[in-house]
């Protein structure tokens, strides 16, 4: 549970198409002050006459409480289905209802460490803010971004500047190294002495990174994306099986016990089944 969560009416400050995504800025008042990399916001969709009753969750790309009209958050949104298409079609000046900041944040090491940040598609969004914080703490930050093709790589110039190295992979080879992020990570870990991986992207990618992280014995914090009905912990739709420190697997809510979790604690590939031994399995 994110104790700073608030429900507000938010105004759209800007909306720009960037590659396959929309970069959108929302005025959010105090929410900006409390937003941490990994947190997300949940936005109502479709207006007063909407047939869509559930909010959509979006990772916070950046947050600042020094905007002209108070705090704002920036989001990177893929126009994918009816909800995101509606949202990305709104013009500046329009208002939406927003709840945030929600969920857990990436843990920041107290000592300077060598960190690798890995993003898939719009999953790169929360990594840039994280990168800035890590740098300010004296960490070395390398970054890998992957997507199906060039248009789906979200890597703004300021973002690129904040990392020591940026590796890009695309499935179709339209930019960077052809292939998956998991193809290039092992070398990066080895060559740069990586101590911790932070990742955000599709579940399959997070699972693959978890495996590599285990092989190399590095920590791995990942931001998962389960389908969420409420985003605030009251519906139990967004659960995934996570092994606790006591060794017990529990169905935890990714909206309040996540989205950022320790990759090694997740029982991956558990869609459509409850892993054996889960607490209360029936």
């Amino acid at each position: 549970m994110n104790k700073f969560a608030e429900q507000i009416t938010s105004e759209i400050i800007s909306n720009k198409k960037v590659g396959a995504y929309h970069h959108m800025v929302f005025s959010v008042g105090d929410i900006a002050k409390h937003a941490k990399p990994g947190n997300f916001v949940a936005i109502s969709i479709g207006g007063a006459t909407s047939s869509m009753v559930l909010r959509r969750a979006f990772a916070i790309y950046r947050a600042s409480d020094r905007g002209l009209s108070g705090g704002f958050v920036e989001l990177v949104i893929a126009p994918h289905g009816p909800g995101s298409i509606w949202l990305t079609s709104l013009a500046p000046g329009a208002t939406i209802n927003l709840v945030g900041p929600l969920g857990t944040a990436f843990g920041i090491p107290t000592e300077p460490v060598k960190a690798l940040l890995v993003g898939g598609g719009y999953g790169s969004a929360p990594l840039f803010g994280l990168s800035e914080i890590l740098k300010s703490r004296g960490c070395r930050v390398d970054m890998v971004l992957g997507a199906s093709s060039a248009m789906k790589i979200y890597a703004p110039l300021e973002g690129k500047r904040s990392v020591s190295s940026l590796t890009i992979t695309t499935d179709d080879g339209s930019v960077g190294t052809p292939g998956k992020v998991s193809d290039v990570i092992p070398n990066l870990i080895a060559n740069n002495g990586i101590e911790i991986i932070y990742s955000c992207g599709p579940m399959g990618m997070l699972e693959a990174i978890t495996k590599i992280a285990e092989e190399f014995g590095v920590m791995h914090q990942c931001a998962i994306e389960e389908s969420m009905a409420c985003g605030i912990g009251v519906c139990m739709t967004c659960v995934l099986p996570i092994k606790g420190e006591d060794g017990v697997i529990r169905m935890l809510r990714s909206c309040i016990d996540g989205p950022v979790v320790d990759g090694s604690s997740v029982i991956w590939n558990s869609k459509r089944k409850i892993p054996e031994g889960t607490w209360g399995a029936n």
């Binding site: 605030i232 659960v239 409850i274």
Partner: protein, 315 residues
């Protein structure tokens, strides 16, 4: 304002009294803690807890939800810690908050309901027991208790016999039956003091990309505004048949107008489920909107409005 101050918003279900008629819906308010971040729980008529079973339950695998036109499907599968942990952890916290508490229980067998009732009888500070009998009966080919007059009766009788004392029993029914008023009569005869109408409607979504049922559990329960006309019908029918039995209405209430609709149909209070997912403060907004609408229409109390749509009913 003078008018509003004198408006009597209190309601009752069986022998339990509540400050106002806006409750959370079972399974839609977490443990209470999650919502308390958005408003003071004492503003609620009551908090209805997620249906608790005898043992811990992992619930169903994911995906557990699908959005549908003006609604959603869920197949949580009654995930929960089991009655003992629940009584140890959740109830004391809720009691501390000073919110009226309605505990929802669910069983897989008649014996389960008896066990749960016995566990509850000694628990202080509970306003009422909601008995969710819209769950599969493992002893009867997985048929839902409330789908069958005999099993519905047996479950409620088991609770009645074991609960003792004054704790009112609210039997929660499924609309997935040929005649809900028949089931209502049966459970009232078996000892239910009040009725909760309606649970979700059995439904399915097929993902047209994977071309398989979207939910891991195949079917799920449809909730939200899409089912409100079904809830209104069920409440109206049952109130017509059993005018003296109090009803906790639910199903797609997302505004004060919607709550009013259920109350006019015959509900003495309404639970808010899916609306909270779209709007964490839905309960408070609806409570305020409903009161304003009732005052606007000249009612002096909530109770006057209950079942008002039945006046001079000639059909």
């Amino acid at each position: 304002m003078g008018c509003k101050l004198s408006f009597d918003y209190a309601t009752a279900l069986g022998s339990a009294n509540f400050n106002n008629p806006i409750f959370t819906a079972s399974g839609c308010a977490g443990s209470g803690k999650e919502l308390s971040q958005f408003f003071d729980l004492r503003e609620l008529g009551a908090l209805v807890t997620k249906s608790i079973m005898v043992k811990p339950r992992s619930g169903r695998p994911t995906p557990r939800m699908a959005e549908t036109p003006s609604g959603m499907l869920n197949s949580i599968g009654l995930q929960g810690p089991g009655i003992d942990t629940f009584l140890e952890n959740d109830i004391p916290w809720l009691r501390e908050q000073g919110v009226a508490i309605v505990v929802s229980i669910a069983g897989e067998s008649v014996e389960d309901y008896a066990v749960l009732a016995r566990k509850m009888r000694a628990v202080p500070g509970i306003s009422a027991l909601e008995v969710n009998i819209s769950c599969p009966n493992v002893e009867n080919r997985g048929q839902v208790f409330a789908c069958n007059p005999e099993t519905a009766r047996a479950a409620i009788e088991a609770v009645r016999r074991n609960i003792g004392g004054e704790l009112p029993i609210i039997a929660k029914l499924t609309p997935d039956v040929t005649n809900i008023a028949d089931i209502a009569e049966e459970v009232v005869a078996a000892g239910a003091d009040a009725l909760a109408l309606i649970n979700t409607v059995l439904a399915m979504v097929i993902d047209t990309n994977t071309m398989r049922p979207k939910l891991a559990g195949f079917t799920g329960g449809l909730s939200g505004p899409a089912i409100r006309p079904i809830a209104v019908r069920a409440i109206y029918q049952v109130h017509a048949r059993l005018p003296h039995v109090k009803i906790l209405g639910m199903g797609g209430v997302a505004s004060g107008r919607d709550a009013l609709e259920l109350i006019l149909a015959g509900a003495s209070a309404t639970s808010i489920g899916t609306a909270t997912f779209g709007d964490p403060t839905a309960c408070i907004r609806i409570k305020e909107e409903l009161e304003a609408l009732l005052v606007e229409r000249g009612f002096n109390s909530l109770k006057e409005a209950v079942g008002y749509a039945h006046r001079e009913a000639t059909q």
